[in-house]
Symmetry: C2
Subunit: 223 residues, 2 copies
């Protein structure tokens, strides 16, 4: 068991080296880079498509799109005309910093303000692999239940922002009984600095606060 743990550490250390390289490169270029992490189907791609479209006159956004298989998401991103690089992990449950390093070389970074990395849909593993991003964005949809910050704490403890998505499902007439205050309290207990925005990427509700946060963060990175 000791040996396996040691090798696990070596994989993480090799990843950290690429992550550091990516983070230095992004800092030199003064570009904001955000790593989006969530379960499959919480709405990462829909959030990105709406964000890119609605901010297109203010912030130039590029996307590094991670998927185990298929380019379904990359096609949705490319339809917005944002520059996008697709990484198919071929089974792996998270993106690695080496893959991101390679993708960064192929994005026209100088034309961009903000690079989103859409990680593989998985609330667990991606949180252990730094990619060199400036911050992590956790996405949790109300359909997944308000107990998720308590049950999967790592990603909520490490994120700069929590987007609580699909709040349109909480309108009268549905049986979704997600308690936003419980999720907020549990996430804030894990991470007192986390910014939490309840949104509906489908209807647009709540997105303005998220956009303000993005604009502020781009401005701060530019210095």
């Amino acid at each position: 068991m000791k040996k396996i743990v040691d090798i696990g550490k070596k994989i993480l250390i090799a990843n950290e080296e690429y992550a550091l390289k990516n983070s230095q490169f992004l800092a030199e270029q003064k570009k904001l880079c955000l790593n989006m992490i969530s379960s499959p189907g919480s709405g990462k791609t829909t959030i990105l498509v709406r964000t890119i479209t609605e901010l297109k006159d203010k912030i130039k956004i590029g996307v590094i799109e991670g998927d185990i298989q298929t380019d379904l998401d990359a096609k949705r991103i490319k339809a917005t005309e944002a520059p996008a690089i697709q990484i198919e992990t071929g089974g792996s449950c998270h993106l690695s910093a080496a893959q991101v390093s390679n993708a960064l070389e192929n994005l026209l970074i100088s034309t961009l303000d903000l690079i989103f990395i859409e990680n593989v849909g998985n609330l667990v593993c991606p949180s252990a692999f730094e990619l060199g991003e400036w911050g992590k964005i956790a996405v949790l949809s109300v359909a997944e239940g308000d107990d998720k910050p308590a049950k999967y704490p790592a990603i909520f403890a490490k994120s700069k922002v929590l987007l609580i998505n699909k709040i349109d499902l909480l309108e009268a007439g549905t049986q979704v009984d997600f308690d936003i205050e419980r999720a907020k309290a549990d996430a804030s207990k894990l991470n007192k600095d986390i910014a939490i925005f309840p949104v509906s990427a489908r209807t647009g509700k709540g997105m303005a606060e998220w956009y303000n946060w993005l604009e502020e963060s781009v401005k701060n990175i530019r210095g």
Copy 2:
């Protein structure tokens, strides 16, 4: 990279040995064992609670409950009075066959017909680790989107059953636009033998077909 791949293989081989031991034990005891896999929040625990309660006069069910942290799910299972063993993986993104082997020793197997293993909420990693179960049950909620079988094929290719849960969210008045026929077609393309049951564990709709499948499977294992 080669070394890392080799070690990865060794971990899988060590796991396979425990899985074989579990599967032989379960076959000798003539007990049905099902490994439930899904993303966080697709409704595994709610499905189990309803199934245990509604079948309690016909099938004696025990549960091995896997979570990264917290015993929130185990408490919900124990409220049904079904025997349950909790495994906290302490960060690991899937259950291992060794953990299940240990749990099987602590369940009163002779009093049971069926053991459910509720894996850690993760649509990716648990599908690579056999636990010695007779079959895998994939759960996908309609809130996650109908593109998931195409994007996360491994678990759908390996499962005996796909439960499409939360179909109550498809009723008029919500904006969930999951196409059940698309999900069925994609899952069946990956796995021509998969049995697919659209259900709502909340309202009970569609659960009768799932119960029939369970009763038939228990009968077949008893021989």
